[in-house]
Symmetry: C2
Subunit: 222 residues, 2 copies
Amino acid sequence: MKDFNRNELLEEITKSVILELQKHNLIQSNERKSHVPVSISARHIHLSQEHIDILFGQGHQLTKFKDISQPGQFACNEKVTLQGPKGTIENVRVLAPIRPKTQVEVARTDARKLGVNPPVRESGNVAGSAPITLIGPEGVVELQEGCIIADRHIHMTPEDARSFGVVDKQKVSVLVEGEKAGVMGKVTIRVRPNYALDMHIDTDDANAFGLNGTEQLKLILE
Amino acid sequence: MKDFNRNELLEEITKSVILELQKHNLIQSNERKSHVPVSISARHIHLSQEHIDILFGQGHQLTKFKDISQPGQFACNEKVTLQGPKGTIENVRVLAPIRPKTQVEVARTDARKLGVNPPVRESGNVAGSAPITLIGPEGVVELQEGCIIADRHIHMTPEDARSFGVVDKQKVSVLVEGEKAGVMGKVTIRVRPNYALDMHIDTDDANAFGLNGTEQLKLILE
């Protein structure tokens, strides 16, 4: 009877400890372990039709350079020059489709060169972000806001989200191995039926973690 | 008696679980929690006297621009241009004192611009590292090896090491909070009696983790 109670107690404690550890994400449950492919986003720009008209001429239509990982989106042949108080960066590629609001995505390294101080934001959230000047072949746009450092994020479908055990807008961490190993925190989950599973990081994150965009990285819950 | 055994067992299991968790660094012991100041190392170069002679003229003595965090080391007024297959970077500062072997420390972002592929190395370990060309006011040095990406590292005294519970050459991790939160892994502990407590990271790590060099970061054991 004593042995029985001892084993019962041991089992109870073990389960309780494991559950508590999972709750605080000190360990992961096996079902949730999985990996995501990573892509590196160089600085780029999303344009409104109004700004395309100014930069490239009235009624200009963006032309495809090549498809990118998300269905329906593509890199364009069109490029602009970014100008800030401290410097310029040429040949910054435009991504399609057009957006309601123009958005410039740079890494912190780019921002220092330009002399701008963009906040880390989710794509689309440009209110109060940094001002910057865009120079195209046909004109100049002085944005009062629109320059951001994109947050680390992972695109996925609702099916992916279920298999990872995550939900839209959740923040997760991602484990990196190798000589510049570490953990990328505050990675935003973005769920839409037409998304392809892909993690997007900027060039600073890629360079700091020694990634070249061919890796599969392990998602860990925060 | 049963209750006594139960409590004893509970205590025993609890201690055993805590010890095991500490061993695998799933939790930290209170005694080991502590923080280190961080400094950001921009690209720089350490020169041998032979190379100083070529770059700045025979018998040239390095002149102090300002002291840096480690006692006896200083940034010099002297600067060189780095040249790689794909580009050049001007005004790269020389650090004193002189070294037996010339060593160029760049971030991955710099390496991409130069078109070189340096390994991540501890300072002083340049065997088989990347070739690069140095251009000074008086001459040019074509290094066959010597260009590295410095590993993340923490300088400390033996007293610091004891209070952190670490030893020389140990690899630790460092926690970063904020909008670009995460964990920097494979951080090398460097212990010498004359070291000042300071963590050194390069500009890529600083930019990826949103650090400006004024932070105190939490050391966590790997």
